[in-house]
């Protein structure tokens, strides 16, 4: 019991009290004989008796009550009075029980937390009404419970009385509150939370509610429930505020919100009775760090669940990644991040429907993002492994990387941006013992972890494979194709590419490309000379064997008119370079021909084989494939068929019956194959560069796009034979593959473990 009265007031009350007392005592010394013991007992018991709330304590004479307690104190009966009171209270507890039952059944019917609030208020009323010191609370009446002690001044039993009463009261109400109370109480506690999240608003707190909770011991009893209200509120707020918002750092804002909004509220349960903010701060420090941990944990979990899309969004999502880094310092959720990202990658990235380029792009983003989150690279190492293994098995990975390196990026998005340092490839296997930035490996690194030196992206990509030789080969093939495709004699871009690649792959690896480049410029110079000596229709690229990817030399017999053009050029060349001669790669290149037919004249670019075939058709307008082969010598059937197909597409020839072709002097309506695009056939020479994807791989790639359809089909229908799949795929937009191509693709999908084949039936591998 605390008294807040000033000394002056106290002195005044003391005087008044002495005056009243001496009147009652008839100015006799002491108090003996003033009141009989039995009377004192009766007065005290009556004063303390727990009553129904409807019958308030009757008016009593404070002086008389005080006197009674003093008499009992002198006779050492105060403890007995207390016991008696507690017994009385026990007798009366049914009154409270009835009320609690009434309120709770109403609550269970309606689920209205206001009923719980009413109940709490009502219980507080009971508590106050029955409190043996209630009347004296914050009043200036002298202490009733003064026990006589032998030597010293009388000692107050006030706190003992309060403790006994409180324990008895609490014990009783907890024995009668049903389990549903905690549910209602949780809602009630939540209702005292700061409502507005507007940071400029001041928090309005319902302090009185918390005083009630304390009076009834609810704060101690429901400590974990109150904490969970807090945790849930924090989680809800963070999720609502931060979800999908990656372009700014949120952690600081969340902490500020905690300080401004949550801490004042949290002071109610956790810093009760603090006199000033310093004291409150001290009381809050343990709880505070627990809740700050929770803030980090919630944000960490949220960002972890969003990680895949954050990576897609990089670099816009950089602030969110920095938050994640900070959270991971506080909360050890690294392995969770790894497994979440690995799962997402497996589901969303590493499947046959995804483009290799897209996988690579995402991989590069993953590298960049995880460098932000975890600079030592342990997380990256763990996440990258399955991606790298998957990429290694894709037929076109090297080609994609190399195409990117030489700036073939189709839609302008390049894997390697300008920020990536132009440095020589880092060899993974060489430990650099002189590295002054060396740091011990992080604890969760694992045995095979090799600290990724802050290497460049290109090194990382190239290191997917055991050796860089494959890349160099592919680079050479790709550069060869590109050089042969340059028509305007401007090789600047390629020259620049080669310079850049030299830095990365080393001078020696690119030497071959240097030779190719020089062959191109030499060819141009030689052609200018030859043309000046004797103008020719022919403009050859003269290449150095051994320095270009192996090209087919097996040439076929050109019709005499074409052969004459070649021979004339070769003669001029040898006149210019007496020790050298030319060997023609007649399969390659393009011929621009003008074809005059009865009803039309066409000017078209065709491969030399087609030009040769046209030439033969100018002699006779019907040929079988076998006859053509006999005329053209040493040529394989597929090459002839391809050459024929070009002319069929151009509407010059028609296949009358299998392997028999006729010249169309008069154009015919194109009937069967409206989808064929003749223009695309003119650059056939490129296909003939070996080292390019095999045709089989290309076809598998093309069907890959339809994986989603196949997957859906097999999900719905279970088992399907190949021809059913083919029939159904015809409903997919743009599908025009043959059943053989589909078969090859399904075979590839089987090898990847996506589908299973049994007795000619396909199903998903689940």
């Amino acid at each position: 019991m605390t008294t807040t009265a000033t000394p002056a007031v106290l002195a005044f009350v003391e005087d008044k009290w002495q005056e009243a007392f001496s009147n009652l005592n008839h100015h006799q010394p002491g108090i003996s004989g003033l009141m009989t013991l039995s009377k004192a007992w009766k007065i005290a018991a009556d004063f303390l008796r727990p009553r129904p709330l409807s019958q308030p304590r009757p008016k009593y004479n404070p002086v008389e009550v005080k006197m009674a307690f003093d008499v009992l104190g002198q006779t050492r009966l105060l403890y007995t009075v207390l016991e008696n009171f507690l017994d009385d209270m026990h007798q009366q507890e049914y009154l409270i029980k009835h009320e609690v039952e009434e309120y709770m059944s109403k609550y269970e019917e309606t689920d209205d937390p206001r009923i719980i609030a009413q109940l709490v208020n009502r219980l507080v009323e009971w508590f106050n009404a029955w409190h043996p010191l209630a009347e004296y609370d914050s009043s200036s009446v002298p202490d009733l419970w003064l026990a006589d002690s032998q030597d010293d001044a009388p000692k107050s039993l006030g706190h003992v009385v309060t403790d006994h009463f409180t324990v008895a009261f609490h014990t009783h109400i907890y024995s009668i509150l049903p389990p549903s109370f905690s549910r209602g109480f949780k809602v009630l506690v939540a209702s005292t939370l700061p409502i507005s999240d507007d940071m400029s608003d001041n928090v309005k707190l319902d302090q009185s509610a918390w005083e009630s909770f304390f009076a009834l011991g609810l704060v101690e009893r429901y400590e974990s429930l109150i904490a969970s209200v807090c945790y849930e509120h924090i989680e809800g707020y963070i999720r609502k505020t931060c979800e999908g918002k990656w372009s700014e750092k949120m952690l600081t804002g969340m902490r500020e919100w905690m300080t401004k909004k949550m801490v004042p509220w949290m002071c109610l349960p956790y810093a009760r009775g603090a006199k000033n903010s310093e004291e409150a701060g001290k009381m809050m420090s343990g709880v505070g760090s627990r809740f700050d941990y929770h803030v980090c944990k919630v944000l960490c979990d949220l960002r972890t669940s969003e990680i895949f899309d954050m990576i897609v969004d990089f670099p816009d999502s950089k602030p969110a990644l920095e938050d994640l880094k900070e959270c991971l310092h506080r909360v050890d959720q690294r392995s969770n991040l790894v497994s979440t990202l690995r799962k997402a990658n497996k589901k969303r990235l590493l499947h046959p429907g995804a483009d290799t380029k897209d996988i690579l792009t995402q991989y590069v983003s993953i590298i960049k993002c995880l460098r932000v989150v975890d600079p030592p690279g342990v997380l990256l190492y763990k996440v990258a492994d399955p991606i790298r293994r998957y990429l290694r098995d894709r037929p076109d990975t090297i080609r994609c990387i190399v195409a990117d390196l030489v700036g073939d990026g189709e839609n302008g998005t390049s894997l390697v941006d300008d920020n990536d340092p132009l440095v020589p490839l880092v060899s993974r296997d060489v430990e650099d013992y002189t590295d002054v930035t060396w740091e011990p490996e992080p604890l969760d690194a694992g045995p095979d972890f090799r600290a990724n030196k802050p290497g460049d992206i290109v090194s990382t990509l190239v290191s997917i494979y055991e050796s860089k030789d494959l890349f160099v080969k592919e680079l050479q093939v790709l550069l060869a194709q590109r050089l042969l495709n340059v028509t305007d004699g401007n090789y600047e871009k390629e020259r620049r590419n080669i310079e850049i690649l030299k830095v990365r792959f080393g001078e020696a690896a690119l030497q071959v490309c240097e030779v190719m480049l020089r062959d191109m410029t030499d060819s141009r110079r030689i052609d200018q000379h030859v043309q000046s000596q004797k103008p020719s229709l022919l403009h050859p690229i003269i290449i150095s064997r051994h320095f270009w990817p192996t090209l087919q030399t097996g040439t076929f017999t050109l019709p005499s008119r074409l052969r004459a053009v070649q021979e004339e050029y070769a003669r001029e060349y040898t006149a210019f370079k007496p020790d050298k001669k030319l060997v023609w790669l007649s399969h390659m290149g393009t011929v621009k021909i003008e074809v005059e037919l009865q009803d039309r004249t066409l000017e078209v670019d065709v491969p030399p084989v087609s030009a040769a075939i046209v030439e033969l058709f100018s002699e006779r307008d019907r040929w079988s494939v076998d006859e053509l082969i006999a005329q053209m010598g040493r040529i394989d059937r597929p090459s002839v068929s391809k050459g024929l197909l070009v002319l069929v597409d151009l509407g010059i020839l028609k296949e009358e019956e299998t392997d028999n072709y006729r010249l169309l002097e008069i154009a015919e309506e194109p009937s069967s194959e409206p989808g064929a695009v003749p223009a695309s056939r003119s650059a056939i020479s490129m296909d003939e560069l070996p080292g390019a994807q095999t045709a089989q791989q290309q076809q598998a790639e093309q069907v890959r796009m339809y994986w989603k359809f196949i997957e859906g089909m097999l999900t719905n229908l279970g088992l399907l034979p190949l021809d059913r799949i083919q029939t159904m795929l015809k409903f997919a937009p743009g599908y025009d593959r043959s059943i053989e191509q589909l078969g090859m693709y399904m075979e590839a999908a089987r090898r990847e473990g996506l589908v299973v084949a049994k007795d000619g039936m396909w199903r998903l591998n689940r």
Binding site: E514, H539, L562, K581, G589
Partner: protein, 102 residues
Amino acid sequence: MKVTIKSWNAIAQWRWDTGKADQDDADEEDVCGICRVAYEGCCPACKMPGDDCPLIWGECSHVFHMHCLLKWIGTGQSKQQCPMDRRPWVTAERKVAPSNSS
């Protein structure tokens, strides 16, 4: 039908004329007897094939990268002989590769 050739972008390889009546494209590779690198490749000292690393023809009918042979002749053990047949080396008159005399 009348077919006119307007222009022709062709691809050819250059070869040294080693004097052998070569059967065109039989890919048996002729290599320099000294460095074992193909004639159309370049000697170990060079990076660019062709005019920058020409051949040299001997009267004995042996052909080498010029740089290889000159290096060989420069050594004492060569005794100025063809390394293949140990006959005194005589460069064939008519067949000296022109070096960039364009």
